[in-house]
């Protein structure tokens, strides 16, 4: 079953067509990666799926519902959770609070300022520690997020997305800017998640992509130029050309 579907999605920034008629299907329960050279339009495609960027034309369907006109928060409430390429956290709140806010959004995103039942709060707390455990940040729960190292902030970035318990988890280059040591840690985390979540992944570390993905889509100059299982993509001449240039 396709959990997410885009139809001829096109995004323009002035004269630049960042995403060009992209039609994509993400199957539930799989890891689907999007690769491509820098500037291929991968993050713009992400932003268009989550609602941060409006498409010039085309539609986005989530669980067979047309969500093209919905706002960012409405899509998040439907179950789309994402992490960002550039670390995007709540710097002056604690690590615990960062993830707590995500978990709380799942159960009550309304702006009504009433009290929350006690058992609900303890469930939330358990959920937060569960997520922090998954990414290995449980012992830093009380730190201010700004005090974490870059690598730990990247892990927190993923933890916030997990806190939402999303139906579709979108990870935008989770290993960006990580040291080899931190990259290995992050890869371990993502491999763990791959079994339990439907994941849409943007990543430059090709060996990670090849290892975890069921399907890979390749973008180049805003267009989808290839799609298929990892083995097929590796052999695809169009992909080799996009990455290595014409010989």
């Amino acid at each position: 079953m396709a959990i997410l579907r885009t139809e001829n999605l096109t995004v323009r920034f002035g004269a630049l067509t960042a995403v060009d008629r992209v039609t994509l299907e993400i199957q539930a329960g799989t890891v689907h990666s999007i690769i491509g050279p820098n500037g291929a339009g991968k993050t713009t495609l992400f932003n268009c799926i989550t609602g941060e960027v409006r498409p010039a034309s085309g539609r986005v369907f989530f669980l067979d519902r047309d969500i093209t006109g919905l706002t960012v928060y409405q899509r998040a409430q439907l179950g789309i959770g994402r992490s960002f390429q550039r670390t995007n956290i709540f710097p002056n709140l604690t690590v615990f609070e960062n993830v707590w806010l995500a978990a709380f959004a799942r159960i009550r995103p309304s702006s009504f300022p009433g009290p929350v039942p006690r058992h609900r709060l303890s469930e939330l707390k358990d959920r937060v520690y569960e997520v922090l455990g998954e990414v290995g940040l449980a012992d830093r729960a009380g730190y201010r997020a700004a005090e974490l190292s870059h690598g730990d902030q990247r892990l927190l970035e993923v933890a916030i997305a997990l806190g939402l318990s999303p139906k579709l988890l979108m990870l935008d280059e989770p290993t960006a800017g990580l040291s080899p040591e931190e990259t290995r840690l992050m890869m371990g985390v993502i491999k763990q998640l791959a079994r339990r979540y439907t994941i849409l992944l943007i990543e430059h570390k090709i060996h990670l992509v090849m290892e975890v993905s069921e399907t890979i889509s390749v973008m180049h100059f805003g267009r989808l130029i290839a799609q298929g299982p990892p083995e097929e993509i590796q052999k695809n001449p169009a992909v080799q050309e996009a990455y290595l240039g014409r010989r």
């Binding site: 706002t71 998040a76 959004a105 995103p109 300022p113």
Partner: protein, 331 residues
């Protein structure tokens, strides 16, 4: 045990406030002392927006004035129960804030600030023009202070000191309520919006709706403070809705410190003390306010509260001098 100690530490500021409320009338005139707590309520309400939600409202006097005139008119014409007058004033403040907030929150940053300011000016001119109801530029005189009738007993709040205690009590109730609000899940979402609004939206929070609710709460408490102000002087001066009052609230809150809940209270105490004691001797007293403000902005961005934290840190460091150090200590 750690939890118990944490609780105890949380009570210290409240104990200090209680002492301050009891001691203040011995240090100054009851009117000045009362004014301190009125403005402390206003500053706390304002800081819900600035310190917690990251919204600089430059029109807090709109709601302060709305409350003052609403309660004044009710007390004059309807001989209303003082508590009823306060409740309706809070309601009116919240209602006006709902409308103005709805319109202002569509814009962000500088445009938001200018809109709150523009609405403040509009509110001022409405009150100025409607002089048959509001008294115009002369203010609304003759606001009575009827006894607080609680069926079993009637509390006469006409004497200055009785009214002082009445206001002190209401201030404590307001402060405790607002503390509950900022410590609640709702309050944490507000802080998340302050920290990173785009991320809060990506989590599924309708950030505009949260900001609107914060605006309404802030407006309601500001209206309540306004009502207390009118009852204090027996007149609602048009200054209550003038933009300078909005500016003063920004001043006292920034001077006191926006990063802690109690900072604005300290700022209000300082500001009113300065305004009421120095102004008698030296009419250019705002110059001092300006100098203090510049000093705070340059050296203590966290306000007076940061001065306290730094002094405390210095004391700790001095007391540890000579002892072997392991690892790095945090400043």
């Amino acid at each position: 045990m750690a939890r118990f100690r944490q609780r105890l530490a949380g009570l210290i500021p409240w104990a200090a406030l209680l002492v301050a409320i009891l001691v203040l009338p011995d240090l100054t005139r009851p009117t000045v002392a009362t004014e301190v707590w009125v403005f402390a309520i206003l500053a706390l309400a304002f800081n819900l927006l600035l310190g917690y939600t990251g919204l600089l409202s430059f029109g807090q006097a709109t709601f302060f004035g709305t409350g003052a005139y609403t309660a004044g008119l009710l007390l004059i014409h309807q001989r209303a129960h003082p508590l009823a007058a306060l409740a309706v004033a809070a309601l009116a403040g919240g209602l006006v804030a709902a409308v103005i907030g709805y319109l202002c929150i569509r814009r962000i940053g500088l445009y938001f600030i200018m809109l709150t300011f523009a609405f403040n000016l509009m509110a001022y001119f409405i009150v100025y023009q409607a002089s048959s109801i509001t008294g115009g530029v002369d203010g609304l005189p003759g606001v009575p202070r009827p006894p607080v009738d609680l069926y079993v007993l009637a509390w006469d709040i006409r004497p200055g000191i009785a009214y002082y205690l009445f206001v002190g009590l209401i201030f404590l109730l307001c402060a405790m309520t607002l503390k509950k609000v900022v410590d609640s899940p709702f309050g944490l979402v507000l802080q998340a919006i302050r920290e990173n609004e785009a991320r809060a939206a990506a989590l599924g929070y309708n950030t505009a709706a949260f900001k609107r609710v914060a605006f309404i709460i802030s407006g309601a408490f500001s209206g309540l403070a306004g009502a207390l102000y009118g009852m204090l002087f027996g007149i609602v001066p048009i200054d209550t809705i003038y933009w300078v009052t909005s500016g003063n609230v920004v001043f006292m809150t920034l001077i006191g410190g926006t990063t802690s809940f109690f900072g604005p209270i300290v700022g209000a105490i300082f500001f009113i003390w300065l305004a009421e004691t120095v102004s008698v001797r030296w009419e250019r007293w705002p110059l001092i306010v300006g100098l203090v403000f510049v000093f705070v902005i340059f050296f203590f961005r966290g306000g007076f509260v940061e001065v306290w934290h730094r002094a405390y840190g210095l004391l700790v460091r001095l007391s540890q001098r000579g002892q072997p150090k392991y690892g790095h200590s945090k400043d």
